[in-house]
Symmetry: none
Subunit: 203 residues, 4 copies
DNA sequence: GACTAAGCGAGACGGTACGTCGCGTCTTAAA
DNA sequence: TTTAAGACGCGACGTACCGTCTCGCTTAGTC
């Protein structure tokens, strides 16, 4: 649901637009209820009143539909925080929204359910990487560059590794260890990453 | 397949043991060929010549079977490296086998394919956590404890977070970013984690 | 395509007439290619470039369209042969065109494909009976009447039964026995029917 | 339902036999109710409580199932009437059961509905011809042979044509003309066929 | 050395969901 | 106004596997 949609929420919708909205709404409800396991195309048709054909006309399969249904949610927080004047603050500003987003029942369910699919399906993997991961890596690169300029971070800091050390632990908790995404998880990770790449003169 | 089995490898096997071996072998082959998607119970019966009933008598479903088939591989490297006299060396000794293991086609396929199931199925999740994750957390705790004693690490080092920062990036690459598990990945992660939790006097 | 159409072939056609011709042409092509099974409305739109709506505006369903497309062919040969002065000749003149017509790939395909629909759909059945069958029964009645007057046929000859014995075997071959519609089939049937209803003094 | 089945009606049936009976019963009910149009595999599963898979395991498609469901009915009356000492009686004995059988709602519905399929599907056509038509042609051949020996029929009588003139009119009524299968239809056809092939000295 | 009974292969069964096809209806924009 | 274009709701298709259930047969292990 983009901001355009919100502005036009009361405008008349064509059949297609109405169908699409009904499909995505039903999909999100089913995902929130039972995770990806509870999402079947037939359940979507039943709940949305939209024909199977119409769903398949838009999305190749269940996984694409699931991803589409939560895409805007995953996509948020991508606007760069910009220069906050403080490297730690910028790291926190990067990782906090990730933690917060993945704390929601809907999104945690979806990521848990789609992880295998994303890891397995080349097309899905490509989209996910290009649209979600790389922009975030680029964000971290900016943060790192500014940190280096400030003298906070070592000049040879590997931004990609920094990115992985920021988000890796969060997803590890989500998928494998089951440890909770505490309120302070983001800042603790940010602290650790800051120290991991801090310039020596920073002591 | 326990070590007992190995000792008895040339001993005559009963029907049951033969069936179990045939099932697990077929499972591993199917997993290696096409990942978890290619693993169906019916394919296992077809390839192993074992009856469906016999499979279901031993494992609840496809996912338990898949995990069982690779369990020994996942389970290796758990023996603590012990005191190497050097904290960095111990961190490397911890993370290197993880990277190496996950680099194999079989195991990377399996983990990619089972990630969602592990994240989703409570029973599987419990087993995975208790049998695989917690022992490794305990290992890291030992490394951290020794590192603190040596004055290398800060006394308040969070071993669990350290563990997550060690393995999280590896699994993140495996599942999401698709970045390769380079030969030096383990040592670079170990370096970063060491600095992240290094005591200040360590500079 | 009626003879009127041919006369007007170079005259400008309205959109409607052009659409209708395109529909019927495509229908006949599809019927000839794969019989009634190959005839789908969607295939007709694809081949004719005509919209579905336009088809449904003219014919209720696939079967009506199929029948319409071959109607002129079925309808031919209805002009009474008139008095040939010889009863056997008149019987042959009746049945020969039927055999010849049903020998064509197009019409045999269509009749085979539509038989069930004609036998089943009341409206189609009514049209078929009134427009095709009854006129032919009437023709046979004329032949019979003249045959009786000539003293060739018994006065109580049942023209309807005679008609059925003329065309029944042909359609039986077409639909069920698969026996070929030989060149001499018409005359052999005519002979048999002639004898079946011949007046006794005829010996 | 063969006579064996009747004798064993109270014997315990295996799962398979029970399923098969349930399928065929449901099929016959649906056919009787709405003809072949009312017969869908899904309706059969719903009414019989048997799974779709089980149906498809036994019959390739709807049409094979329909034919199987009425096969025994179609197959009856095949026992040769034997030498009745009278050619006309033997012709009547041949055609009467055909008329009677096709008068039933069930069988007339089925034949009407399957005619196109039988005429169109090569495999179905082959089975129908070999199992139903040819045996009846053979029956007529016997009748003809005896009739010739008795001096009732011409030595060159074409038994196949005779067969077609016997059954053709009945099926023509059933499928196309809609004329009723009167009680005396069989004997009137038999009379006509007898005269059609009667030896000249027979007057 | 014969006799059980547990375990096996084979595979049919009821079931869920899949993704596809073609139907006949409805909407929209262009001619 | 009629058309081409094509999306929509719908019903049924035939398929893939699921996990359950007989069913004989094999095969140890017990008398």
């Amino acid at each position: 649901m983009t901001s355009d949609d919100k502005l036009l929420a009361n405008a008349p919708l064509g059949r297609s637009a109405r169908a699409e909205r009904a499909i995505l709404d039903a999909t999100r409800e089913l995902l929130a209820d039972n995770g990806v396991r509870g999402l079947t195309i037939e359940a979507v048709t039943a709940r949305s009143g939209v024909a199977k054909t119409t769903i398949y006309r838009r999305w190749r399969d269940r996984d694409e539909l699931a991803l589409a249904a939560v895409w805007t949610d995953l996509d948020t927080g991508l606007e760069s925080p910009g220069d906050l004047g403080d490297t730690r603050a910028e790291l926190v500003a990067f990782i906090e929204p990730v933690v917060t987003t993945l704390r929601s029942a809907l999104l945690s369910n979806v990521i848990r359910g789609l992880a295998s699919e994303i890891a397995t399906n080349p097309e899905l993997s490509r989209v996910y990487r290009e649209e979600l991961i790389e922009p975030r890596v680029a964000q971290v690169e900016l943060v790192v560059k500014r940190g280096v300029q400030r003298g906070d971070l070592r000049p040879d800091t590997d931004a990609r590794l920094a990115h992985e050390m920021l988000v890796g632990p969060v997803l590890y908790r989500l998928l494998f260890s089951g440890a909770p995404l505490d309120d302070d998880l983001g800042s603790r990770i940010a602290d650790a990453v800051l120290r991991a790449f801090a310039s020596d003169s920073d002591g």
